[in-house]
């Protein structure tokens, strides 16, 4: 993995090859307001095309498969794949029932969407790190960051949407006065109103931020570890040393892959459950 790109980089800049390799992999395909040298976005009005492409691709895949399954449901003799989808649905529905007070028909589909989308976007991390960028460079695309959830834009987009829903339902269920009261009197009672406002505001803002940063951090770190493992075989594939380094890389890669499979599932699950919990808190009258 990464041999070709890396060796090219190593030829070009000697010792700086490793840094450049990682840097290259962590750079989005940016259009719009981008820095021409570093290829990083330099302003708000820039688009990470790779993030958008894979995000929408996976979303389309979910819609397509969901439509296929949803339009050929058989209640009496479920096919194998229908069973599988039913299992996921049942799992999500159980989570919602266990953590969400009351009833809101939006919560369960929202939770399912988050779980599926996040899981599948995370799953892109398990595709060998150099495979898609190499194919892309063959097509003349210089930068390609495959995993949308390693882009803070994606995770923040989801967590801000969830946050908007939290605010909306807080206002709807508690009423504007009730919501304001929560800010005024929440942690310490009515004698510490200024402190309360600061505390509750931080608490509320921490919700979307922690959601976004947790997912982003985990996946970014995971991606980075894959890159580092890919470097093991890359830097030292000279002569007999390859006999040692190459198996090590394979073993480490496999180990991290299996561990990461757990991580990506867990992160998707955590994002889903926390969304349900936050929305559940928005739906309770008394804080």
């Amino acid at each position: 993995m990464g041999d070709r790109v890396l060796s090219e980089a190593a030829h070009n800049s000697g010792g700086g090859g490793t840094v450049e390799y990682i840097q290259h992999h962590l750079t989005n395909l940016c259009v719009g307001d981008c820095d021409p040298v570093t290829h990083q976005a330099s302003g708000f009005w820039a688009l990470h095309l790779d993030t958008i492409f894979f995000g929408y691709l996976i979303a389309a895949l979910i819609v397509f498969v969901g439509w296929r399954v949803g339009s050929s449901l058989n209640p009496d003799k479920p096919s194998g794949f229908q069973n599988f989808v039913e299992m996921i649905l049942d799992f999500v529905s159980t989570q919602v029932k266990d953590t969400f007070p009351g009833h809101n028909p939006l919560i369960a589909p929202l939770a399912l969407t988050i779980f599926l989308w996040v899981f599948l976007m995370n799953f892109m991390d398990l595709i060998p790190v150099d495979l898609l960028p190499m194919l892309a460079s063959g097509l003349g695309i210089p930068y390609l960051k495959v995993v949308p959830t390693t882009d803070l834009n994606t995770t923040l987009a989801m967590s801000l949407t969830v946050f908007a829903l939290v605010v909306f339902y807080s206002l709807k269920v508690k009423g504007p006065v009730g919501y304001l009261k929560m800010f005024l009197f929440h942690p310490f009672g009515k004698f510490f109103i200024p402190v309360n406002i600061v505390m509750t505001t931080i608490e509320e803002l921490a919700k979307p931020l922690s959601l976004a940063l947790r997912l982003f951090g985990n996946l970014f770190a995971g991606e980075l570890v894959f890159l580092l493992i890919a470097l093991i075989g890359g830097t030292l594939t000279v002569g007999a040393a390859a006999l040692f380094w190459f198996p090590l890389q394979v073993v480490l890669d496999l180990g991290w892959l299996i561990f990461h499979l757990l991580v990506i599932t867990l992160q998707a699950f955590i994002f889903m459950v926390l969304t349900i919990v936050y929305l559940g808190m928005a739906h309770t009258e008394e804080h």
Partner: protein, 156 residues
């Protein structure tokens, strides 16, 4: 790692995806699951009802059987009584018939006896007259001795 307009694009994707998932997957599937659940519940309820019905039917069958047995026993008892009555009646009839026939026979016998007696009386009278005539060597005039003859006949 700047925040860019990608954020907005991904937000749109997210909202659209929620809408689509709800529309094409969650909606139909949860409706189907609810239907299946209802069907299973109905099936179980029907099974329960069937079981209950069976129990009721068994109970009723038992009751019917008992009634039938009781009725049969009653009928048998009645039949026995009736048979006894018939036998008794037959016996009584037979006895009565026997007595009647006996009486008739006795009457017949008596009648025959009387008839024989009358006959005998007549014959005895004639024999006695003949005997007397022989003894007297002359004929007895029935007319002139009628009174005597009748007296004799009455004595026999």
């Amino acid at each position: 790692m700047n925040i860019t307009a990608t954020l907005i694009a991904q937000m749109i994707a997210f909202v659209l995806l929620i809408w689509f998932v709800n529309k094409v997957l969650w909606g139909p599937m949860s409706a189907m699951l609810a239907e299946r659940q209802k069907r299973i519940a109905d099936g179980l309820a029907a099974a329960e009802k069937g079981k209950h019905d069976l129990e009721l039917a068994e109970k009723r069958a038992k009751e019917e059987l008992q009634t039938a047995k009781a009725k049969a026993a009653e009928i048998m008892a009645q039949a026995e009584k009736r048979a006894n009555a018939i036998v008794d009646e037959a016996r009584v009839n037979a006895r009565a018939e026997g007595e009647r026939q006996l009486a008739a026979a006795q009457a017949e016998i008596e009648r025959e006896t009387n008839r024989a007696k009358e006959q005998l009386r007549g014959q005895v009278a004639s024999v006695a007259m003949a005997g007397a005539a022989r003894i007297l060597k002359r004929e007895i005039d029935a007319k002139s001795h009628g009174e005597v003859l009748n007296d004799v006949i009455a004595q026999i």
